[in-house]
């Protein structure tokens, strides 16, 4: 039995198989419409989430399975003081697989240690959000046709954004990736990330101006400046609109550049970009469902049973 805690838990080869499966599911959804008949996914969400929880639920339903769970700690036994270890032991009796989001970092790992069913980390505090990274990788692979040999610009809050850190780590395993980190001084990518890139001889540069690097990019990964990460409202207000992707800026970009965003967006991408064929963030949300379908299918070892 396997769990998914970190995007690096799967080797590059295993990810390739997972993405092949997700693409096959996209091409022929009917083939997989009933593979999870009689199976249940427990969505244990100790903090609110819209996209991730609904994406998991849609994924299980697309596979013909059922869903049960809770969407906040208040409506779970955690409100009565039950530990994560005890909760997962009980959930193991009710469901076949579990997706867990928890505000405390490492909670899904604790659950995985006691669980009798596969556990998927659906986000643990500011730590990991592996299914977002898998979504990002599948989107890039499907729309660019490759994972590697490109220049990616990561823009916005590179300091606190967990999706950015996980994506950088995951992309480092592919060849010829050139990173450009675009952020205000205060929200630069942490030192441990740049140290890791230097130690592995991976090309990167840090800039403040988005316009300046726009023509170089094959991919632009925009992020939101998150209010909840700031202790000081003034700093948040000063930085929240530091980058706004507009039509004028998009004119500087390559014709086949793609704009990605983990969503939700606030002001950082102007709505006028939504109709630009290079805007891939809503497609990305769609890929998120397929990668979760492939993940559920893989962790439930359904392919093995058929073989």
């Amino acid at each position: 039995m396997r769990h998914l805690m970190n995007p690096l838990d799967f080797s590059v080869e295993e990810l390739d198989s997972l993405f092949d499966l997700a693409e096959d599911m996209m091409k022929d959804p009917a083939k997989y419409a009933d593979v999870c008949h009689g199976k249940k996914l427990a969505t244990c969400f100790y903090e609110p989430s819209t996209r991730t929880r609904l994406s998991f639920e849609a994924a299980m339903m697309n596979l013909g399975g059922n869903v049960l769970g809770f969407s906040s700690a208040d409506s779970s036994s955690a409100a009565k003081g039950e530990s994560v270890s005890d909760t997962i032991r009980v959930i193991s009796c009710y469901a076949d697989i579990c997706a867990m989001r928890h505000p405390k970092e490492g909670a899904p790992m604790v659950a995985a240690g006691k669980s009798l069913i596969p556990v998927i980390n659906a986000g643990d505090g500011g730590h990991q959000h592996p299914t977002q990274t898998l979504t990002d990788l599948l989107t890039i692979r499907s729309l660019k046709g490759r994972l590697g040999s490109f220049t990616i610009g990561l823009c916005g809050d590179l300091k606190f954004g967990r999706t950015v850190h996980s994506l950088i780590e995951a992309l480092c395993r592919y060849k010829d990736i050139n990173f450009i980190f675009i952020s205000p001084e205060e929200l630069r990518v942490p030192d441990y990330v740049t140290e890791m890139l230097k130690s592995r001889n991976i090309s990167f540069k840090e800039v403040i101006s988005l316009e300046e690097v726009m023509p170089e990019l094959d991919l632009l990964y925009m992020t939101r400046v998150q209010r909840e990460r700031f202790f000081n409202e003034e700093d948040y207000i000063r930085l929240k609109d530091f980058y706004i992707l507009t039509k004028e800026k998009m004119e500087l970009a390559k014709e086949d550049m793609l704009v990605l965003h983990p969503l939700p967006r606030v002001n950082e991408i102007s709505v006028e970009i939504d109709s630009d064929p290079r805007a891939a963030y809503f497609k990305q949300a769609n890929y998120g469902v397929y990668v979760r379908m492939a993940l559920i299918y893989t962790l439930l070892e359904l392919g093995k049973k058929e073989a």
Binding site: V84, P103, K104, E105, G106, M109, V110
Partner: protein
């Protein structure tokens, strides 16, 4: 110059960074042991300028070498028998350290989950960086807190 006498049986921890001996005393839980301890602070050292020394009169096997290595693996451990040094122990960084130090990250699951063992793993041997097994927060040497022994 202040003189502290020899010990007959036990161990001497030498080359401790000046000011760190009291913290080591606590982390090795020497206060719970039935033995005499001499703490020499700010002693002159050719190598370090200033250093601390701990002399402990008890069996070397009572010393948790892993704890000591995590705190500072450059400390010299001299084993004393009949008043003379009979061995020098090398400190090697343990791959993992269980139930000794507490993760100080308030967002870590260890801050709320009952009886969860606090575990740190060696993330970077060259830079001696340990990270929490659960939240991967870097182990902060300046705010060490020991897990209470139940």
């Amino acid at each position: 110059m202040l003189n502290v006498g020899k010990i007959e049986e036990g161990f001497v921890l030498d080359h401790i960074k000046a000011g760190q001996s009291l913290s080591i005393y606590h982390h090795l839980q020497l206060d719970t042991k039935d033995c005499t301890v001499a703490m020499i602070m700010n002693a002159r050292s050719k190598k370090m300028g200033k250093k601390d020394i701990l002399k402990v009169e008890c069996d070397i096997n009572e010393l948790n070498m892993d704890v000591l290595a995590v705190i500072d693996h450059n400390i010299t451990v001299n084993v004393i028998k009949d008043g003379v040094i009979v061995a020098k122990k090398e400190l090697t960084l343990p791959k993992e350290i269980h139930r000794v130090f507490k993760c100080k990250n308030p967002r870590c699951i260890t801050s709320i989950e009952q009886e969860l063992p606090h575990i740190f793993y060696l993330a970077d041997e060259e830079k001696c960086i340990y990270r929490c097994r659960y939240c991967e927060e870097k182990f902060d040497m300046h705010s060490l807190e020991r897990v209470k022994i139940m």
